[in-house]
């Protein structure tokens, strides 16, 4: 299996964005229609009260060549949560999935804390208008912190296999101050939950399903699963938990694992591997992958440098001949 890089396909600075957002098109997530592909992403506005960021969901519709842009959303896709709610300060990302004639959006909602910067939970919002707007199932999350997953439950990716909803997501294992002069940093791992209805979930409760490559301080994020042939492939991103923001090879890279039973995963980052080229838009960081099928071809959307400040790109997943 190989990943053939097709370059950056969307630059948020070239478009007018809804919700007064500027820059950032993070964690692209595809919804395939008959004659176009809608790609949701998280973009950012500035909170006028304190200068911090608020992440909002927007989308771009592209022709199926995944080159030509048809339109960028100009209306609010889903408003942020209310005062004190889990998704008050941002939604990033939102994973979309068709279910009957509706579209389920699994949101990762962000809320700011005092002793640490943030906590997250996974919400469910449903669209009855082909994904133009989403309405929350309730003000709270469908998946959140639990006995052995103390914080930072987020990044849900949902797929129905047989008659079971599967969710791959991340859970925080804890916050740690790695250096006396830096704020606390978090570590998170990929977990798994199942459901009969997509609403009530049973977690495997703190079972880390993807082994560490960098050791216990490896953070793993944004799992995405695609079935190619009989085999399930998971892409995700991983990095060091500390000092990961600058160009020092500690930042995000794309990882890969495969499974034939959706329970046991074998990590195999090298096959396929996304190449890193000097001086390119993704030369310092590759993160937030999303795998999907479109007309018999398999693609990987992902972000590059600075966590997607300058947009997202595309690679084609090519099975071995």
């Amino acid at each position: 299996m190989k990943l053939k890089k097709l370059g950056k396909i969307f630059d948020p600075t070239q478009h007018r964005l809804p919700n007064a957002c500027v820059q950032f098109a993070q964690s692209p997530q595809a919804l395939v229609f008959d004659d176009f592909v809608r790609i949701y992403f998280s973009t950012r506005a500035v909170d006028t009260t304190n200068g911090k960021y608020l992440s909002h969901i927007a989308f771009v519709d592209m022709r199926k060549d995944l080159r030509e842009i048809i339109r960028v959303s100009q209306e609010t896709v889903i408003p942020l949560g209310g005062l004190g709610c889990f998704d008050e300060h941002g939604i990033f990302p939102m994973n979309v999935m068709r279910h009957g004639d509706r579209i389920y959006g699994y949101t990762c909602g962000w809320n700011r804390r005092v002793s640490v910067s943030v906590d997250t939970g996974i919400g469910l919002a449903v669209s009855s208008d082909d994904g133009l707007t989403f309405q929350r199932l309730g003000e709270g999350p469908v998946l959140s912190a639990s006995l052995h997953e103390p914080c930072l439950v987020g990044d849900g990716f949902v797929k129905v296999v047989g008659d079971t909803f599967h969710m791959w997501y991340i859970f925080g294992t804890g916050w740690k101050r790695f250096a006396s002069d830096t704020p606390p940093d978090r570590t998170y791992k990929i977990g798994h939950a199942v459901s009969k209805n997509g609403i009530d979930w049973v977690k495997e409760e703190a079972r880390q399903i993807i082994s560490d490559r960098l050791g216990p301080d490896e953070s793993q994020a944004l799992p995405t699963v695609v079935q190619i042939g009989e085999r399930h492939h998971m892409f995700f991103c991983y990095r060091e938990s500390f000092d990961f923001r600058t160009a020092n090879k500690r930042g995000y890279r794309i990882g890969h694992a495969y499974s034939d039973d959706l329970l046991h995963w074998t990590r195999d980052d090298a096959n396929p591997q996304l190449e890193i080229g000097d001086g390119e838009w993704d030369s310092e960081m590759q993160c937030y992958p999303h795998a999907f099928e479109c007309d018999g071809r398999y693609y990987l959307l992902y972000n590059g440098n600075e966590f997607g400040r300058h947009g997202f790109g595309l690679a084609e997943i090519e099975a071995e001949a």
Binding site: L83, R113, S115, E139, P141, A145, H148, P150, C151
Partner: protein, 320 residues
């Protein structure tokens, strides 16, 4: 209407010396009865920090079973530590409710964290004791009752009971944050969950007690007691704003049920109100009903939600 005879204040936290974590408050009393004494768990606070913010601890006081006004001892330490960095109970473990199960004592407690847009958030954790309730070990670093679509925040005030082999947890769930005078105040309602093991819970997702004094009435301390073939709930309620004084502050309400899920509120029956004067003249709250040596008794808080301790009342007759 029930007739409660007030017996006076039982415990004054300010009278306890030598504990840096206990300066004032003895909130949310919860009992564990022993042969010779009654262990009463309560929640207290050390002095506020430089920013005027409190943390809360839970501890216990042992009272002489023959004379509940006689304090035998106060725990040397809080029964639970605060949670670690970024955990749900980093800034408080309050209140607590206990129950015996086999040789162990299980504690359900509310854990407090601090937020940016609202002052705090709360979720419910669980801990176990193997030394008759002196010390507890948390079952995990996260909560057993966490946020869900219909219960988005402020899950607090747990009260654990077991009826017919089923575990019941009554608690409160935040409905909204209401901003009054620039300050966000939570509105919360009484809720319930059931479990076969006390660890995995199924929420009923229903407000159990209809609001009476206003739509945004806040309800707390759902204390359920079985007597004479039905279930009795004493709880407390207050207005959503300006509730720190007598006019809008906490009062004790009452409801009854035959099946634990459908409750009929009848506050006129509660039979206890603020006093003309004294330690409980402005508000009464956080009722806890227990039976001891043939008498139905009630611990409750007085003014400033227990800043100066809790008191005792005894029922004339039985709950019916």
């Amino acid at each position: 209407m029930f007739t409660w005879k007030k017996k006076g204040k039982v415990f004054t936290p300010q009278a306890v010396e030598g504990r840096s974590w206990l300066k004032e408050f003895a909130q949310a009393p919860a009992t564990l009865v022993f042969d010779d004494f009654v262990r009463v768990y309560f929640s207290c606070r050390p002095p506020a920090d430089a920013n005027g913010q409190y943390v809360s601890y839970s501890a216990y006081v042992d009272l002489d079973r023959q004379d509940l006004f006689k304090v035998l001892r106060v725990s040397d330490n809080p029964i639970l530590g605060l949670g670690g960095l970024g955990e749900f109970d980093e800034f408080g473990t309050y209140p607590v409710s206990v129950i015996r199960t086999g040789n162990e004592v299980r504690a359900y407690y509310a854990g407090w964290t601090r937020c940016e847009s609202v002052p705090f958030n709360v979720a419910i954790g669980c801990a176990v004791s193997r030394d008759d309730g002196k010390t507890f070990t948390k079952l995990g670093t996260g909560p057993v009752i966490g946020y869900s679509p219909d219960e988005p925040f402020v899950l607090s005030g747990p009260k654990i009971r077991r009826f017919n082999d089923t575990w019941y947890l009554w608690y409160i769930a935040g409905r909204k944050w209401k901003v009054a005078d620039g300050r966000a105040e939570p509105v919360y309602k009484i809720r319930m969950a059931t479990s076969s093991d006390g660890i995995h819970w199924n929420k009923l997702n229903k407000d159990l007690i209809e609001s009476r004094i206003e739509e945004d009435e806040a309800q707390a301390s759902p204390d359920v007691f079985h007597a004479n073939g039905k279930y009795h709930m004493f709880f407390c309620y207050r207005y959503s704003s300006n509730y720190r004084g007598k006019a809008n502050g906490y009062r004790i309400g009452y409801a009854s049920s035959s099946n634990l899920t459908d409750w009929v509120r009848d506050d006129a029956k509660a039979g206890i109100d603020v006093s003309e004067q004294g330690w409980d003249a402005e508000m009464i709250s956080y009722p806890h009903v227990f039976e001891l040596d043939g008498k139905t008794r009630l611990f409750y808080l007085g003014d400033q939600v227990g800043r100066h301790g809790f008191g005792l009342a005894e029922l004339d007759g039985t709950l019916a």
